[in-house]
């Protein structure tokens, strides 16, 4: 079978994969990327490069991904439909492929209201399901959205997000099926703290036979402090941090909270490893890339 990227190859071989995350800098400083590369390289199979996450303007995901390619670390280029119409989207996918980028994560994108420039106009010309389909059609049919046959068509391994913690819960599995039908190869989930709800979601996905058609990487984010746990629960859209996790963090002295956060993260990974239908873990150590090596080593995933 043809493989589209190393991440794809690892998943095909049945490896429990690890992906990390690299947020590009608010500026043109390549050194920031280089530092994150040095912290992640050797510990993860691929690294998501975020696309103006939380609608804050940063170095482009394509450029930062290209820096990763040059450094020999495989990127998963994130692309949101918030800022580009279908013309720009297709053009950027072609450009990204020409730069050696082989994985793409198709997202709607955080609303600009949360960002540094809420006065901006958003685009949302196509939705994330149609973005998945667009990349798939380029790969499978060699055509752009107009049906034009491309000279060299991008052949990317296609990812999308799923949030088992958003409502309405009943619809979350239908939406997952829709993304799979559109052509998604792998899913990275929202950060998992509410394990019971995640188990219920994956059970339904298993029952529907969906996990045989897509690779699921469970999302984890190590908590650095009790304050962060509360902030994520209250302020971050679509996030569910159960009160027992917040209590547990609260019960630890400030100095040791970060260690406790890593401990919780490791416990979650242990659960994920045993769950049918979970094929890997996506570690989003937000501006805390140092934690990734520790987590990967202690989880025995290196």
């Amino acid at each position: 079978m043809k493989t589209f990227s190393h991440l794809h190859e690892n998943l095909l071989q049945g490896k429990f994969v690890v992906t990390g995350e690299c947020g590009p800098p608010r500026g043109a400083n390549k050194a920031v990327i280089d530092k994150k590369i040095s912290l992640l390289k050797g510990y993860v199979d691929a690294v998501n490069v975020t696309d103006n996450q939380t609608a804050i303007v940063r170095m482009s995901s394509i450029a930062a991904s290209a820096h990763l390619v040059a450094a020999g670390l495989e990127p998963v280029m994130q692309m949101v439909v918030r800022d580009r119409n279908r013309i720009a989207i297709q053009s950027d996918i072609m450009g990204a492929y020409s730069l050696g980028i082989r994985n793409i994560l198709c997202l709607s994108g955080d609303h600009q209201k949360f960002g540094s420039q809420p006065d901006a106009m958003n685009v949302f010309d196509i939705d994330s399901v149609n973005l998945v389909r667009t990349v798939r059609d380029m790969r499978e049919k060699g055509k752009d959205m107009s049906g034009f046959v491309l000279d060299v068509a991008p052949q990317m391994f296609i990812g999308a997000a799923a949030n088992p913690f958003a409502d309405p819960f009943e619809y979350r599995v239908i939406r997952l099926a829709k993304k799979i039908d559109a052509g998604v190869d792998f899913i990275q989930t929202q950060c998992i703290y509410n394990i019971d709800r995640f188990k219920e979601w994956i059970k339904r996905a298993n029952d529907e036979g969906l996990t045989e058609r897509v690779y699921i990487l469970g999302g984890v984010t190590p908590l650095r402090s009790a304050g962060m746990a509360r902030y994520m629960n209250n302020k971050v859209a679509g996030m569910d941090v159960p009160s027992d996790i917040i209590k547990r963090m609260d019960g630890i002295g400030k100095k040791n909270q970060a260690d406790e956060g890593i401990k919780i993260c490791l416990e979650t990974i242990e659960v994920l490893k045993e769950l049918t239908g979970v094929h890997g873990v996506h570690i989003m150590a937000i501006e805390w890339e140092e934690a990734v090596a520790k987590i990967v080593e202690q989880a025995g995933l290196k």
């Binding site: 149609n130 958003a166 409502d167 559109a182 859209a237």
Partner: protein, 222 residues
Amino acid sequence: MITASQKPINEIIELVEPYKKVLILGCGTCVKTCFSGGEDEVAVLASALRLSFKKMVRSIEIEELTIERQCENEFIQEASSGIARNDAVLSLACGAGVQALAKQFLKEVVLPGLNTTFIGIQESPGIFTEECSGCGNCSLAIFGGICPVTRCAKKLLNGPCGGSQKGFCEIDPDTHCAWHLIIERLTTLGQMDNLKTYIPPKNWNTSLSGGPRKLIREDHII
């Protein structure tokens, strides 16, 4: 209806300041219904302006008139003598009304007194909500009569984003998630299968992306 809200009084003062005689022209249809441009609002605004100019020790003559609809030439004619008597018209109509006046009275100054907001309804007394974007290609039949193009902050056509929680939208805890409403309604109607259907990229050609739109009714062209 088309909803609108009155511009802040200071902005209106700045707009009318260069003129000695101003006609405040109300519109008796949509903007009257949303309490921003009918007879009552014309009267209140006229008093406020007179008072403000008096305080500034400046003189201004303000005339008041409200016509049925500023977007129809037939009604606009009723305002022609009033417009002729004044230096400027402050229109309390939607943007279509303001422009209809400007088209009819080529040499007169027409100023907007309202900010036009959206096509909507009065959901409950005093609360108006946006319902339609006039995209030119209505899909309400598949979405149970709830429009995701207008009411989803991301115009998503294939289901809710990850930010929908407890029925509300991530951008504002007071805004219902359109997708939550769609799912509830289609569940009630027994039409959830509609949502399993893949919805292709929308053709925006019929919306504003195709440039200013025209509706042509050959049977009514004289």
